[in-house]
Symmetry: C2
Subunit: 149 residues, 2 copies
DNA sequence: CAAATTTCAGTTCCACTGAGATGG
DNA sequence: CCCATCTCAGTGAAACTGAAATTT
């Protein structure tokens, strides 16, 4: 019966469409890669923030990673169950937990980081080094523009 | 108490992260713009495909727009209720509906299309014409690469 | 009192799956 | 018999909202 599956050309020109499509493929590469390492996107983000900035409260982690406060609680539960982070009381402000990454958490983070680096490589495979820099630069400018307004 | 909300720099360099963020802002611009015109993203996609390719079955529409078969049904219900499309029987293959855009649908499509063009402009505001072409070219290549593999 | 933190429960949106009914 | 189409119901992930309890 030969239906062409040709996409509407009007749509294919729209930057919003292109970005959404590429983002969707990137997301699949990410979740697949992380799933193979038995983790999810939030886990990486939280471990990365702990690795880079050291122990922090849950609220601070939420702000640094862009993960919602509710999801921070849930993800930290899961990371704590696996011994990758530790909750302890903040004696100077008893509303807070202090979250610390454990040695096992650091090991796991480095494993995830390798996965993520590989995913970037897969995603950008068709682009040269120079092009990648240009793309990253433009995306960064777009993001900055839309965050501050 | 002065928590910096500084994002993990490891994350901010990741193209997957940048693309996801920009995509999320683009999505907000899109849904806000379309909501002001009392529509949603699927509506635009479906009307655009009908406008460009003429009447089609629901399955063909799904393939052309990338909208899932289930969501095609739902969105067409909503478009039909508003008189923007019409369902009729395909006499040559009675499993199918033939979907036709109505004159009111065409009017509505052009209104939505103006909204979408404006959203592209907002999204890419910080980039020059040349940069926009470069960005679109790179995204198109990335997409092509990941679709065919 | 107002504000911040942690937590839980629940909502909303999107993409998708499964299955039934009809037909090719 | 197998495949395609249309439809509805439902699932699962992601992002978020509301409210309660605690503490500042």
């Amino acid at each position: 019966m030969s239906d062409d599956d040709a996409m509407s050309s009007r749509l294919k020109e729209m930057p919003t469409w292109l970005i959404a499509q590429v983002s969707s493929h990137a997301h699949r590469l990410l979740t697949d890669g992380l799933a193979a390492a038995k983790s999810r996107g939030y886990h990486y983000r939280l471990l990365a923030a702990l690795q880079e900035f050291g122990p922090a409260s849950q609220a601070a982690l939420g702000r640094r990673t862009g993960v919602d406060r509710s999801d921070v609680v849930d993800s930290l539960n899961s990371l704590a169950r696996r011994g990758l982070i530790k909750r302890s009381a903040d004696t100077s402000d008893r509303r807070r937990n202090i979250i610390t990454i454990t040695p096992a958490g650091t090991v796991h983070f480095h494993r995830l980081d390798k996965v993520l680096v590989g995913v970037q490589e897969d995603l950008l495979a068709p682009l040269s080094r120079t092009e990648r820099r240009v793309l990253i630069g433009m995306l960064t400018r777009l993001l900055k523009h839309h965050v501050n307004e």
